[in-house]
Symmetry: C2
Subunit: 396 residues, 2 copies
């Protein structure tokens, strides 16, 4: 049955999945035990504790949903929103659009506040939407828009949501573990993420966290949650003291998440953020040094995901193909209206290492020169090294 197709050792520098830490891979190979085994219940508790630390929250209801990041998005909307509820959603990329789609399927009346792809949302426009439409149930935004690389400042929007009596819902898929999310400090009511970005864990789980206010809304629903699989009124009884069986937990993926979280906490959250900051800065300096342009203004750039404008003289697909074939490096192309126009270069979690920054800049220079783009060998590396040297002697 062996079809001789093996996984090559790529360097995953796209928008996710990112490189998985070897300890995480090993954890997945641990023996499977039952989802109600007393040892597994301890493992669940430990995982929830670590998740709370990384989310920056004391929320009791902080659990990994048994699906990828998009299932976390759906979890928030099916549990907190009921047909006819008004929700304001910020749309400046594909994942904001997806939120609109998911909310509409729950029967929400969706009010979109848009910004051009590559720019952040303007809180003043969110406020205008809240003023104009009375009784908005929730405001949803994407913290780190994976389709563009924009970092959305959360606090002004959270403050507005609460001032107008709405829940504040945040997509932290590409931010959690890469930049601070700080659920409690920022005042996020419900938040979801994914494992395959800055947590260095394979795709497959979606950590979510609900605060007391969100749990209250969940408890006061008029109707039943439309999804049985994602129904937190039942799932919280399995992850809570009762341990009531809902569905069979994905044991091996939870082992993986637990190890990924342990790695982050061993390194220290502040150090993890500093590592992402420095490598992101070096990469961005290197790209600019090569004469390339970045999509996002400096103040809204994510360190863990950089969008580069594809120069007119080169072909998007050809560059990505050569990176993969010649260097085993995967980067992402553009999505939606940015298809063919940008490259998305990820430095998330275990991918976020100096060796990957330097290899990638060298590889891209090589390929761009092959394809006739006018740059100078070493111009990217030179700028990246300047950034590292300015930071002093660090091991990252």
């Amino acid at each position: 049955m062996n079809d001789q197709v093996y996984s090559p050792t790529r360097t995953l520098m796209g928008p996710g999945p990112s490189d998985v830490h070897p300890r995480v891979l090993q954890a997945m190979a641990s023996p499977v035990i039952g989802h109600l085994d007393p040892v597994f219940l301890q493992i669940m508790n430990g995982t929830m504790d670590m998740l709370r630390k990384v989310f920056g929250t004391e929320n009791q209801l902080t659990v990994p949903m048994s699906g990828t990041g998009s299932s976390g998005m759906e979890t928030l909307f099916v549990n907190l929103i009921e047909p006819g509820d008004k929700v304001v959603i910020g749309v400046n990329g594909l994942f904001g659009q997806r939120m609109v789609d998911v909310a509409a399927r729950v029967g929400a009346e969706v009010i979109q506040v848009t910004a051009p792809w590559g720019q952040p949302l303007d809180p003043a426009e969110i406020e205008q939407a809240l003023k104009q439409h009375g009784q908005v149930k929730a405001v949803g935004v994407v913290h780190a828009e994976t389709s563009t690389g924009v970092r959305q400042p959360l606090e002004p929007i959270g403050e507005l949501a609460h001032r107008y009596g709405a829940l504040f819902l945040v997509d932290a898929v590409t931010s959690l573990g890469g930049i601070p999310v700080e659920v409690d400090r920022v005042g996020i009511d419900a938040c979801y993420s994914g494992t395959q970005k800055c947590l260095s864990v394979p795709p497959g789980l979606s950590p979510v966290t609900f605060n007391q206010e969100a749990v209250k809304v969940l408890g006061e629903r008029k109707g039943i949650v439309q999804s049985w699989y994602l129904d937190l009124t039942m799932i919280q009884r399995y992850w809570g003291a009762e341990r009531f069986y809902h569905h069979t937990a994905p044991i091996s993926m939870i082992y993986a998440l637990r190890e990924g979280l342990a790695l982050i906490l061993e390194e220290g959250l502040e150090q993890v953020y500093a590592r992402h900051r420095l490598n992101g800065e070096a990469l961005q300096a290197g790209l600019i040094g090569m004469g390339l342009k970045l999509l996002v203004d400096e103040q809204y750039r994510l360190p863990e995901l950089t969008s580069v404008l594809v120069p007119e003289e080169v072909q998007d697909v050809e560059v990505r193909k050569r990176l993969l074939q010649l260097y085993n490096i995967e980067i992402g192309g553009g999505l939606g209206e940015l298809k063919g126009k940008i490259w998305r270069v990820g430095l998330m979690g275990h991918t976020c290492r100096r060796r990957n920054v330097l290899t990638f800049l060298s590889a891209l220079e090589d390929i761009l020169i092959q394809l006739g783009y006018r740059t100078e060998n070493g111009s990217g590396i030179r700028e990246a090294l300047r950034v590292y040297q300015a930071a002093g002697g660090v091991t990252i």
Copy 2:
């Protein structure tokens, strides 16, 4: 961060998860690659091909959903059923009940046909329900009821469903890879399973298969699918020729499924079924030899899951606790109305080996004698060995 909690090496003889084959555990530790990597697309194709063989189908739309078995159940109902549609559901255990719950959340008008827990459904009653209610959209039944260990003969019900113009939907979570499912031969229109039973893969994916008739119903929907995450109109574009991005596939779990399926096909489907039959028969003979009673009549017993009535003189929980603590063996208790009344002993996939049958029978005898149940040392093993000897010299 190491909390010193490690997974013990259990023998998983409950209703799932079952023991995972070492080659499957190793496969999960393979390097993660991107969900749009050309190599991963080959792996997806190979996985779909093998899934079709194990399901016994030529159905193009045969894919693993990115969630556990229950997400597969929800996938069938959210995609095929629309609000107001009538569905007939057979209920003779917890998973039939769950199907009712899931269908109702989609807005179906559910007609339940029941049988006592531990007995199969009567096709005559299904026919009566179909006659009584015009225009039923679908008939749903559970092939192997995990809460009772009952095998439901499918053909008479499938034939009735089609005679009355309804789709035939089947839960094959605990049957796939343990007893023949034969989707095409039986005339199943849509079917779902789980990885953590007879496929010897950890929990986390739900293989589903839809035939042309089901795909037609999907294509002719009046409204949008209420779940974005489980929307097959989009997901089939990722698993199909287009490779259109929907959500990030759970790469490592797909590696695991692929290896589990390869193991089954290497052994040969017929040999896999024969192994389950023989070990199941030996276990059941052993249990009866010890003086225990089984819940299900012989002709409807599953080889891979046996329900044993807890003798009045012993305590359910104490026996299971000692099996786990003294022997590292997990079995299941009863669910719902059978809570405290039965033990569920699984022999699924990689768990289904003679050494586990013999160890379990010895362990249970030991513990029952400890607890004052009147049996004779060796009485279970004696009967089990008779079954193996009658089968001739086999290596299982």
